[in-house]
Symmetry: C2
Subunit: 139 residues, 2 copies
């Protein structure tokens, strides 16, 4: 298979596949003309990577997952630990975004949004030395 086929079947852009080869995630063979020649196992790996990426795993985490996947003697505990770490990272990120969201939503609500210059959003950002809109939740 050429890169175009693999791109279509894996759902990953050809550019991304080349990038994954650069960083050693896949090692396709080469045809006589210099074109990359992908085996089914390469396609399989790429699809695996694509799905791991949509779950938000970093490239390095994907690399580990792939290693575990290929190690038939792995302990599932290792996979689970990796996934749990990632889950926690996601939870942290969500918490952070929700905090931003709460503050911002409050500010937006307070702003008239008309042709006058008065703006509680800017006022809040300009508050000296305190977390922005830190009492938005209580408001």
């Amino acid at each position: 298979m050429n890169i175009g086929d693999v791109a279509e079947r894996s759902g990953l852009p050809a550019k991304t596949i080349r990038f994954y080869e650069d960083i050693g995630l896949v090692k396709p063979m080469r045809a006589a003309n210099g074109y990359r020649s992908f085996r089914d196992s390469d396609l399989h790996k790429l699809a695996f990577l694509g799905r791991a990426r949509t779950l938000g795993f970093s490239i390095e985490e994907c690399r580990l997952l792939l290693e575990l996947y290929e190690d038939k003697g792995r302990e599932s505990a290792q996979v689970k630990a990796l996934a749990e770490d990632h889950l926690k990272a996601i939870d942290d990120k969500i918490a952070q975004l929700r905090s931003m969201r709460a503050t911002l939503a409050h500010l937006v609500q307070c702003c008239a949004g008309d042709d006058r210059p008065d703006c509680p959003i800017l006022d809040d950002l300009a508050q000296p030395s305190q977390a922005p809109g830190r009492d938005a939740h209580r408001a």
Copy 2:
């Protein structure tokens, strides 16, 4: 004020402040010895930037906010529109993370996490041609 003072008072690392100068967000003066010399207004701007950044605004959004802040004839509608756009971006991001979280949490729960190699997480990632764990929510 030298950069160290401003860093401490604004809560931003000196490195970041230099970077903000590079991209034109602040324009401190220079003392005879070449050191950056910050006015109160520079400190004020940096603090504004720091708070806008903690609310998740991008640098370019911060640049616009700063312009609006300094334009005493602005219309608050512009600020509000910017904030609303950002709010929507945050909501989208949260939705995406929650979807990941749901799938991943389900998989983690299914994995024994012991010394055996069987692992539903890896199995799911290896599923050919379908979104990973796409029925996790129903499970």
